[in-house]
């Protein structure tokens, strides 16, 4: 039999046949690894979770005309939006504003992509229905108060197109929008309808973008658009991006702090358990020394047991840690969490290192044991 085979037989026998003792140690390592891997998973998933949460507060980047232009060119906008990573786009809503009249009273009409508005402004409260297609509009609460319209009512919209020619067209109110903001003074219709009334297309006043990204990424996008697209000026919606950044930073700092404290507590817990496990085996260490085992050999055996224990505990910790993180995520953020494969080696390395270290210190002192004293039972 090879020496290595006997070595593995000894360390595995120690773990398997001393089940009750080793289960306590394994439990200590596994609990530590569980909390650690769970917290790290949450730490790295917070930006994604909270980013999605913040997207319900509206757009975080807008494009407005630049270089002295009074309007955005649709082609330039397309170029600008090309700088946003496709996977980060929650919604992009273009807006064109024109003055129109209803019963000779002036109102502001906004032509937009209403499907995108649903994504960029999920906080809008709509009574009735969102417009299903051409000829239907959403009207703001302030407009309703002035002209007394209800969902299903038809009204005539009039005005002057860009050629100075008058137009008049009937629209149906599909819903009434309440936001608590300036949007309540607008009439929202499909962009193509407004372009049809005005007699031209490809002209926009503002484009609202809702992007699931950190403030740093948003700054980078804005920088790239500013440098590369002449007629588009990007602006970060600071009240959203800054508060998002602040909350995320503080939340991550909190979880980071908790993770570090838990890591320290885990180290102390595992070290104490391992010290107790080693201390109760002083007689065995004395016997091995009496049989002629070198200190190096004894340290190697205990270290082997510790590493095996750390590995097993770490593996258990990865699985239980993900379940822990998933439970926290579902209960706190109401979303599932994504598994980080890199966490497997990371948790294993940390568990093995902590357990190994926790074993090494007491074993080193235990090898100073005089075999004669231990074997006499003193």
């Amino acid at each position: 039999m090879k020496r290595q085979t006997m070595y593995f037989r000894m360390i595995t026998s120690s773990l398997i046949r001393r089940r009750s003792r080793m289960l306590v140690a394994l439990l200590a390592v596994a609990i530590g690894a569980t909390i650690l891997s769970g917290l790290v998973t949450i730490y790295y998933d917070i930006p994604r979770q909270m980013g999605e949460e913040f997207r319900s507060y509206g757009a975080n980047l807008i494009f407005v005309p630049g270089g002295g232009d009074s309007a955005l060119n649709a082609d330039e906008v397309k170029k600008a939006t090309g700088f946003i990573p496709a996977e980060d786009i929650v919604g992009i809503a273009p807006y064109r504003y024109e003055t129109v009249k209803i019963n000779e009273q002036p109102f502001m009409a906004a032509g937009t992509d209403l499907n995108e508005v649903k994504k960029t402004s999920p906080y809008w409260f709509v009574s009735g229905q969102w417009p299903a297609g051409s000829g239907s509009v959403l009207i703001g609460q302030e407009v309703v108060e002035r002209i007394r319209l209800s969902p299903g009512d038809t009204f005539t919209l009039s005005g002057t197109d860009i050629g100075g020619k008058s137009f008049s067209h009937d629209f149906t109110v599909s819903g009434i929008v309440q936001t608590g903001g300036t949007e309540e003074a607008f009439i929202f219709m499909p962009l193509s309808d407004l372009e049809g009334l005005m007699g031209n297309s490809g002209v926009l006043d503002v484009v609202e973008c809702s992007i699931s990204a950190t403030q740093q990424v948003l700054n980078d996008i804005a920088g790239q658009v500013g440098e590369n697209v002449d007629d588009v000026t990007p602006r970060l919606v600071k009240r959203v991006t800054q508060s998002e950044g602040t909350v995320l930073t503080k939340l991550q700092a909190l979880v980071y702090l908790v993770t570090v404290v838990v890591l320290l507590l885990t180290m102390i817990c595992v070290a104490t358990t391992m010290m107790a496990v080693v201390a109760e085996r002083r007689r065995e260490i004395g016997l091995k020394k009496a049989l002629g085992a070198a200190n190096k050999s004894i340290i190697k055996e205990f270290l082997g047991e510790g590493l095996l224990l750390g590995g097993l505990g770490g593996l258990l910790g990865v699985a239980l840690g993900f379940a822990f993180a998933q439970t926290v995520s579902i209960n706190v953020f109401a979303r599932s969490i994504s598994f980080q494969p890199l966490l497997i080696p990371a948790t294993l390395i940390v568990s093995v290192a902590i357990t190994g270290l926790a074993c090494l210190l007491p074993v080193r002192s235990a090898t100073d044991v005089d075999p004669a004293i231990v074997l006499r039972g003193e």
Partner: protein
Amino acid sequence: MNLLELQDISKIYGNVKALQNIDLTVRQGEWLAIMGPSGSGKTTMMNIIGCMDKPSNGAVILDGTNISKESAKSLTGIRRDKIGLIFQQFHLISYLTALENVMVAQYYHSMPDEKEALQALERVGLGDRARHLPSQLSGGEQQRVCIARALINYPMLILADEPTGNLDEANEGIVLDIFKQLHKDGSTIVVVTHDPEVAEEAQRTVVLEHGRIARIVENEK
């Protein structure tokens, strides 16, 4: 030929003189018993002979080499290569089978050999109990495993501390028969005991009193 020589050995712990001016030789192939009341210095003498302690004064010559000034690390090597230890409380590793307990001594010495370890157990009549854990063995059986472990590396000297101290009469008989066979095969045995019947089986009995050799008795058997 002398295998072991203790030359003017003393061991002093603080103000306590555990051993004083001990001169003793053990011939190769001899069976020697060390007897004495509690506190007479038996255990101290066994520790010095077994390379688990060093004398305060004097020289210990084992196999022609003075080992009294060797380092702890070096003494561990000497213990591994030249001495087979048998303990009163057996001291088997609880999570290893009888066979694995014997193989542990091989592992620290050179190379584990399962077949040879099994033969050692068969020699002490435990071939059929090789896969049992110490907790599944009787006291007598555990002591026999301890003897098999002590013999596995063919030591120059077998050092037994009260080998029958924890055994009933039947098992004492079995263990003494094994010792007789070992002696017959040429092994050098030093037994520390308080039992006159065990001591009588040896060729000579050294009686210690207050850390000194009170007398040496040549046994007639």
